[in-house]
Symmetry: C2
Subunit: 369 residues, 2 copies
Amino acid sequence: MKYNTFFQTLAFDRVLPYEGQVECLVYEEGKPFLQIKAPEADKVNFRYEEVDHYCTKDESGIWKTPYTAVSAMNYVQLIVDGVELITPMLPISYGYSRPYNYVELETNDDFYKIKDVPHGSVRREFFESSVTGEWESCVVYTPPGYDETYKTYPVLYLQHGHGENEMGWTAAGKVNFIMDNLIAEGRTVPFVIVMNNGMVQKVDEKGRRVVDFLLFDKYLMEDVIPFIEKKFRVGGKKVYRGMAGLSMGSLQTCLTGFAHPEMFDCLGVFSGFVTDIIQGSELDLPGREASANEHLKLLDDGKKFNALFNVFFRSMGDKDPFWSNFAHDDELLKEKGITQVRKVYDGTHDWNVWRESFRDFAKLIFKNV
Amino acid sequence: MKYNTFFQTLAFDRVLPYEGQVECLVYEEGKPFLQIKAPEADKVNFRYEEVDHYCTKDESGIWKTPYTAVSAMNYVQLIVDGVELITPMLPISYGYSRPYNYVELETNDDFYKIKDVPHGSVRREFFESSVTGEWESCVVYTPPGYDETYKTYPVLYLQHGHGENEMGWTAAGKVNFIMDNLIAEGRTVPFVIVMNNGMVQKVDEKGRRVVDFLLFDKYLMEDVIPFIEKKFRVGGKKVYRGMAGLSMGSLQTCLTGFAHPEMFDCLGVFSGFVTDIIQGSELDLPGREASANEHLKLLDDGKKFNALFNVFFRSMGDKDPFWSNFAHDDELLKEKGITQVRKVYDGTHDWNVWRESFRDFAKLIFKNV
């Protein structure tokens, strides 16, 4: 069965160029370029890997630049005459706290691509939150067979990074296809995945909507888990429950996982942080002090910690700008005698590393169910 | 429970303005305006209702224009220096054959809003297509209670219009919330809804991907229905199955429904067409001749037709540019003695009429199950 790799949340079939516009990602002599037709614009650039790449215009009004990122998937910001906008000719996920384009290159890696195997479902669910006082929504992956059987499945609560939301792991991470492929190859226990918005919004004392990532612990424990484990045939006890996350989500995993070790059998810390470096930083609400890292006290009795979690998994890209934080946590965990699975991947702080991290974590967890 | 009405497919929680940008839809003295910060741009306009509305720039570089559409939901195209792009500060659905912004105004109507009632699920499913030879994907709404019961539900196959895709009815139509609300009020039989991409893509003899709306009949009958009615507890016989669509999807409903009357108990023709006005038109593949309208032969025996379908529903906005086509079909159906439910709404060819059409159709169908 053929499949195209250009699908996105808003369009599984390819978006074909519309009148007056051209394909955005094109290959010339095997090399990728980004382009857009904009005859009246004065300046066009694409920003990725935190660098602005300026285009040159040809006589037909097409602005073009070589695309130099080598890894499969990267966020890309189109900027036309200084305005950061989205092009419908590239797929759209959610990053930098808003809908955001990304580029998916053709590569030889295919563990995250849709293949000729049975496919699970990706569901959007709606629930009341006592923490925010609003209706909220999460994304749930159920593996192939979930609808046709009556068994109870293990469940992984899986979180995105700063500026992303509940769509990230499916829209950008393709986590559903990674799971479908692992299950078809018999390399993982089938489990359900629940993905929430960890950038929890609240209304501050001045009436403004703001994001408070520290609300997520209460939100998960009091709103999400009761809702999910009532509606789905999942979880119900520690050995049937895990938590993982990338970057900010990895810290949320440690904050919640260490605070509620009776709840989770396995923890996955992808490109991320055991020690809290976010609270009080520029990524947090203004005016909050740095964390006292109370959650790290659970590490003090290493033997006890090792007995609490069947899998404690940490990963990092070898070119990740947060490498020194990873190394710092390495020292801490060594000092405390913590048993872990530790993986280092070729890459930086991006979805390519997170796809690999998830794949390897998924192979290890829920072996006892 | 509070709820915000700004949710969209890619973000249920509100997208907050990011550094350097402002809210796009703002109210001043109760009146809506569209705006974008673009200090370096030479020209900014928003196109909606097929008209370009040009903005004026203030000293801070914000371009603004009054938003004059009066109905709740309209597609909006942002154009910066002549380039048609998407702003992350408005919600995004899929129209005009690509991801596309829309504006959702605050209104007193609330039948399509998320309310304090039980909510169904919105699922993305993946299936093989023998017609396209590719993996394809559809969206499925399951009503509240589907996961907790073992009963079999009726199923409605529901189609979008030209240039839209499988996301339209949930992303723009909010059909899941319309259903949740109707079910909570006891005004409809709970049923499952299956939404497919009716702009079926194939590869033509020159190797180009093109859209062929006439493939949908075979695609639905041979690929979609067998997949859905195996995976879900739905359908299985005529009285448990219906079909409806808007605009192009309404024609597809008549083409397929009239060709397979043994399959469907009810048909919904929203803002649309009994007579085929699309085949051979500029909306069809180039070079195809106008339809011979073979499907209309089923109307020749009006009594038989009336016995075949429990509900035959047609609707139109009173300001719809296709009104003359609706009137032409009116004459045809009258001449043939066809029994129908016929609704005319205040509005044009847009989602406001389609939301109302769906609501009223949903109240009438599957009463015998």
